[in-house]
């Protein structure tokens, strides 16, 4: 289990969100989540330009064993998706906090991310 990088925010359902310098939010799933799913074989990403409400199902990660919805941490519009995952979904297993990011959104409200779980609260929720 790799340590959770500082500064990330979380949903209880294991999505992480990181506020970037330009105000956008990068989203991925936690190391704990990839461990629960096992080897990922397919990632279905949202369409760029699409808007999601906070908590809405917006992507699917599938392992050999199960398909799992990914929920949008905060309301916003998708601006970029990690296209490299189409050919290498296992990147999410190997580097969930880095190269395994899923998509980037422009949040409707910049402050919305502050309401998510912080690292300590998320760590406690999976302990």
């Amino acid at each position: 289990m790799s340590t959770i990088p500082a500064g990330l925010k979380f949903l209880k359902s294991h999505e992480w969100a990181r506020r970037e310098a330009d105000g956008s939010v990068t989203v991925g799933i936690s190391d704990h989540a990839q461990g629960l799913l096992g080897d990922l074989v397919y990632v279905e990403l949202p369409a760029v330009g699409k808007h999601f409400d906070g908590g809405a199902a917006c992507a699917v990660v599938e392992s050999v064993k199960a398909a799992s919805d990914v929920y949008c941490p905060v309301a916003g519009t998708v601006t970029r998706v990690n296209e490299a995952l189409a050919d290498k979904p296992e990147t999410v297993n190997g580097d969930p906090w880095g190269e395994g990011w899923l998509f980037v959104i422009t949040p409707d409200e910049a402050a919305a991310i502050d309401a998510l779980l912080d690292v300590e609260a998320y760590a406690a929720s999976i302990a």
Partner: protein, 362 residues
């Protein structure tokens, strides 16, 4: 509290992710189920299958009893050690379980049944054994390790007493023999060559460690599932159950209708279904688009709806595969579509064998 096999501590020590399977706490994988899958296709892997249930039958009328109990015909077993795969049916022709039966001698046969069905299986066997004066012994004192892959047999043979190696190495497919207290069967559930070894519970941890030292990779139930599905082998409870006949589950080849005068449980129902036309058949599905086939997804065919039974991602083929039960009229079609989260995804209908001995069959 789920049951534990005698190898439970070994799994934990290897860092396995454990999962409840049929009331047993079993390893799902030891890190990567896909790597474990490839190890079996390319070299050798081992599975703790001690949750499966070994039942020994004894009595002078053993063969007669099994010819009545099972849909396949143990009259085919002529040489000691030979094994046969069969379904055990209820009177309606529904599958109570699928199993392997080994012929030891005329008064001794051994049956290996599934973990999740063991209680009902044992009750059913005992219920019918009485009339044949057969004693039924559940061998909870035995454990079982499946060693599978192109190098599996060689790795196991090296652990046997030297004097036995040639004899065990010469075992044909679906045959078993004993060596040094081990019951070594050239059977499996992966589509690869290998052995399933029945070991006294007290010795299995040492046997496991010896295999580990010989470079055999521990594999969990996850890899076992993708391997058997690639190999076109059914999983009880998912591909067939008591509401399904073997004719509807791609298992017609395991039903011995000849000789016509052999009475077996379920025979009348199967004959009626055969003459009336089997309404649904099991087919293989192969999906070229990205995504994964899953149990329960609806299949839309030219003759109506069907359903995905077992579905998974095939690590060997790099695409989704599955079994589906579809209306018989559509079984010969080239393709169908599967509803995946509201999207109609095209699939090919194929013979339900995808990989054998490391080679793609589709």
């Amino acid at each position: 509290m789920p049951a534990q096999t005698p190898l439970h501590a070994n799994h934990l020590e290897l860092g396995a992710r454990m999962v409840d399977f049929g009331g047993w706490d079993m390893p799902l994988h030891y890190g990567s189920q896909i790597d474990e899958h490839h190890a079996v296709r390319r070299t050798a892997g081992m599975f703790d299958v001690s949750h499966m249930c070994v039942v020994d039958l004894a009595g002078g009328r053993c063969r007669e009893f099994l010819r009545f109990l099972l849909a396949n015909d143990v009259a085919k077993l002529k040489v000691s050690g030979k094994a046969l795969y069969s379904c055990m049916l209820n009177a309606q022709g529904g599958v109570i379980d699928d199993l392997i039966v080994y012929f030891r001698d005329e008064s001794h046969f051994r049956v290996v049944v599934n973990a999740a069905t063991r209680d009902k299986d044992i009750a059913w066997i005992r219920r019918h054994a009485e009339a044949f004066a057969i004693s039924v012994t559940v061998r909870s004192d035995l454990a079982m390790v499946a060693v599978q892959g192109p190098e599996a047999r060689a790795r196991v043979l090296a652990l046997l007493p030297e004097a036995d190696r040639e004899r065990i190495g010469a075992l044909g497919r679906f045959a078993a023999a004993e060596s040094d207290g081990l019951f070594v069967a050239r059977t499996g559930y992966t589509g690869e060559d290998g052995f399933e070894v029945i070991v006294p519970a007290g010795r299995v941890a040492a046997f496991w460690q010896d295999l580990l030292a010989a470079g055999v990779r521990p594999c969990g139930l996850g890899a076992r599932d993708t391997l058997r599905l690639e190999a076109g082998m059914n999983l009880y409870g998912q591909d067939m159950d008591e509401e399904t006949t073997p004719l509807e589950a791609g298992l017609a080849w395991t039903v011995a209708f000849d000789p016509a005068d052999r009475d077996f449980i379920g025979r009348a129902a199967l004959e009626a279904q055969r003459s009336g036309g089997v309404p649904r058949l099991l087919v293989g599905l192969l999906m070229d688009e990205k995504g994964v086939l899953r149990h329960g997804q609806v299949v839309l065919t030219s003759a109506g709806e069907g359903v995905v039974l077992s579905g998974t991602f095939s690590p060997t083929l790099g695409k989704a595969i599955g079994f589906a039960r579809v209306p018989a009229a559509a079984a010969g079609d080239a393709g169908a579509t599967v509803d995946i989260r509201g999207r109609q995804v095209p699939v090919r209908i194929v013979k339900p064998v995808f990989v054998r001995e490391g080679k793609a069959q589709v």
